[in-house]
Amino acid sequence: MTSPVTQRGRGGFDLFRVLKQFGPLLFLFALMLVFAITNENFLTQLNLFNVARQISITGLIALGMTFVILTAGIDLSVGSLLAFCGMVAAVVAKGGTANTLSLSSNAGAGYGWGAALLAAVVVGTAAGFVQGLVITRLRVPPFVVTLGGLTIFRGLTLTLSGGGPISGFTPGMRWFGTGLVGPVPVPVLIFGLAALLCHVVLRYTRFGRAVYAVGGNAEAARLSGVRVDRVLVSVYMIVGFFSGLAAFVLAARLNSAEAVAGIGYELTVISAVVIGGTSLFGGIGGVGGTVVGAALIGVLVNGLVLNNISSYTQQVTIGLILIAAVAFDRWLKARARA
């Protein structure tokens, strides 16, 4: 009597169980297919590398944000921190805040790209460390601490720069934003390597395991001997590090560090992570999804711009498609479960 049901259940079963892992990826492919059909320039190598380069900035930060969100935390300060680290890198690269506007690089004056890069990531990591300390020691929720960070770092950036941009870097520094290795843009290479590293850390190290455990159930993690506070401080340092790295790459790419850089990035970055399947309540997800999420957003914006869709319609479309992407993912998972 019940066997027909059983068989029907088993039939569709396996396919969905495999597919459900790849919801966002499938959606990304579908989207790319649509754009490939509607615009012949979409699938050109030039355009695809453009997209890849574009997503690499927010993508880098999204890698760090994945760690944070896996612990059920959040970091709203990344956009401001990016601006701040970029400004610091620029000041170092130019050797001070004077003479900041010459577009032509005046290599002699500054401290070179090495020092600038170091400054950016050190400042980013240190900012993350401080925020992590406030979160763990003073028990202020991450949302509040990093929202404070959002306005604090913006204020510091404006103070440091006086509101204006700092422009004109050495070719050595600019290579990190505009250079190529073979056919691959340097930012894409950096992003790719960083993603790989993060994936390995999350999946194959003790620290990665601890991140998932803290996000899955912080109290259980504590009672299992995980040093929860250390893990938390570390993830904010990681996202700070990546904000600094992204800041450096962005400044190198634009040949300029701007005080208004990164406004609103927090939402883009968190979207990439969440669309990639990482749960805001922690413990579920990973870096692979984040890369797909970042790519999905990048492709979407690029495809709409390529098709010269009006910016009003673009906004409506982007919103709808992002929701659809996640809805599709949920639907696949629900199918697999039933």
Binding site: T205, R206, R209, Y212, A221, S224
Partner: protein
């Protein structure tokens, strides 16, 4: 068999389940199960961990839906759309995994969705508190109804759940392991209430792994094995002997259970020594017991049983020693060295382990795979010097415990919340066994674990002790304390009230010590 029973009695069954099947992805949890329950009877639902008991009950309570099969309740077809519908129909459930809302007060939890209202349909808080107090009194729980549930012990939460269920108008009460967190006193109280309900014509379905309980309380028993019906057992005037139940559950003749493990005489030097331990009252657990000058010696190779009533402070003692709660004063020595574990991580590093009593809140990572749940306390053992995991080592260790404790899972990558309660408990035990600590504290180690596996767990504890590990075992099941421990101490109100070698102890003597009033002359 069902048919026979129905023919014997003129009363039609209140609940009739026919051919119920439930499939999860990859697992058939229930396979064509039929049973019935009549008004005014207590039906025991028994089976090993993962046999499908909870699944069956969840379907009846509307929390899950069946894959196929039919149910009728009070003569009408019954297919609840949700828990609310089930309740409307008169079926009330006490779930195995406690389902109170931690952020709300006890009173509100009792009255979720049906708070008494006054003028304008606004909630009458005063009436709610008064009624809550009355309801709590039925299970002899004298809690302030304003206390947030997050501050309650597992046992207290269990009692609140029971109280809530009793306060609902119902024709069938489903109880999934209501006694697993309770000590004898509370259990007897619950049984008293169940008797009363039975007399009032309420039907009860009752799941327990304490077979003595089942044998003494149930009019009939339905036994599940691997999701299939293994058979029914009738009271037939006398009690159903426990070995017969086991035989039905496991499908073969029962070996001797609760056999006192062979006496060992290998207690070595003092491993853990606690002197004058005191704790402070915490605002988020305002009524929790405050330890008041605990002195304790735990020797290498011995199993020290810790007995006490609910709220006697056993859990507090375990947590304080493990560094999970701050201590106000006192010393803890490990192998003669003064240690003051500031945190569980420190305790772990020193070689102390703790299996907590509250599995859901304090032990499992519900959404993570079994593998990660298993290895979290021993990551250093499963990784190399650089902190890179060695999945091979990890997998082999897990496979070993899976076999040793017969953990029923489909794969180590399965999320742990897909396991039955008992199997989850085994994974948590394995977590700490893998750590191989010097001192292992287990708080209700066999809560929800079936008879067979319970024996295995006991044997494992004994083996550990034989290897020189010092074990402190907290258990609310006196037979367990009696059979596994080498030495037993009892607690009451945050103090140690007695100590004796297990060989001399009896349930009666322990009960007497557990119930001992504070000695006269002691400061309040």
């Amino acid at each position: 068999m069902t048919g026979q029973l129905a023919a014997d009695t003129p009363v039609p069954p209140l609940l009739d389940v026919v051919g119920l099947t439930k499939r999860f992805s990859g697992v058939t949890a229930l396979d064509n199960v039929s049973l019935d329950v009549r008004a005014g009877e207590i039906l025991g639902l028994l089976g090993e961990n993962g046999a499908g008991k909870s699944t069956l009950l969840k379907i009846l309570s509307g929390a899950q839906s069946a894959s196929s099969g039919s149910i009728s309740f009070a003569g009408r077809p019954y297919a609840p759309a949700g828990p609310d519908a089930a309740r409307q129909a008169g079926i009330v459930t006490i779930y195995q995994e406690l389902s109170l809302i931690p952020t709300l007060s006890v009173a509100e939890n009792i009255f979720v969705n049906r708070a008494p209202t006054g003028p304008f349909g606004l909630i009458d808080w005063r009436r709610m508190r008064r009624q809550a107090r009355d309801i709590l009194a039925r299970v002899n729980l004298s809690l302030d109804p304003e206390t947030p549930v997050s501050a309650l012990s597992v046992a207290e939460q269990q009692l609140v759940e029971i109280a809530r269920a009793l306060s609902l108008e119902s024709r069938l009460i489903i109880m999934d392991e209501p006694t697993s967190a309770l000590t004898e006193t509370e259990v007897q109280q619950l049984f008293g209430i169940m008797e009363m309900l039975r007399r009032d014509g309420v039907a009860i379905m009752f799941v327990t792994h304490r077979l003595e309980e089942a044998s003494s309380m149930c009019d009939r028993m339905t036994v599940l094995r691997d999701g299939r019906l293994a058979g029914h057992l009738l009271r037939d005037g006398g009690r159903v002997p426990v070995p017969r139940i086991i035989e039905k559950m496991v499908g073969r003749a029962a070996s001797e259970l609760y056999a006192r493990p062979t006496r060992r005489d290998n207690a070595g030097a003092v491993r853990l020594s606690v002197r004058g331990l005191r704790t402070v009252r915490a605002a988020d657990a305002p009524h929790a017991v405050v330890l008041d000058g605990i002195d304790l010696d735990l020797r290498a190779g011995e199993i020290l049983g810790l007995a006490g009533l609910v709220g006697s402070g056993r859990t507090e003692l375990a947590r304080a020693v493990f560094g999970a709660d701050p201590i106000a004063s006192g010393t803890i020595r490990l192998d003669g060295q003064l240690i003051a574990p500031m945190s569980p991580a420190d305790a772990c590093a020193l070689g102390i382990g703790l299996v907590p009593e509250d599995r859901k809140q304090q032990a499992i990572f519900a959404m993570l795979p079994i593998r990660q749940n298993f290895s979290i306390a021993a990551l250093d053992l499963f990784s190399d010097g650089l902190g890179v995991m060695r999945p091979g080592r990890e997998g082999a260790a897990l496979a070993g415990y899976r076999k040793a404790m017969s953990i029923r899972m489909s794969s180590p990558e399965q999320a742990i919340d897909g396991l039955s309660g008992g199997n989850q408990q085994k994974v948590i035990l394995a977590r700490w066994l893998a750590r191989d600590p010097k001192v292992l504290i287990v708080d209700e180690p066999t809560r929800g674990v079936d008879v067979g596996a319970k024996t295995e767990v006991h044997q494992i504890l004994v083996q550990l002790a034989e290897r020189g590990i010092a074990i402190l075992m907290i258990s609310s099941e006196l037979p367990e304390v009696l059979s596994v421990s080498d030495r037993i101490i009892t607690m009451r109100q945050g103090r140690i009230t007695g100590e004796m070698p297990a060989i001399e102890a009896t349930e009666e003597s322990l009960m007497a010590l557990m119930a001992l009033e504070a000695r006269p002359g002691d400061p309040q």
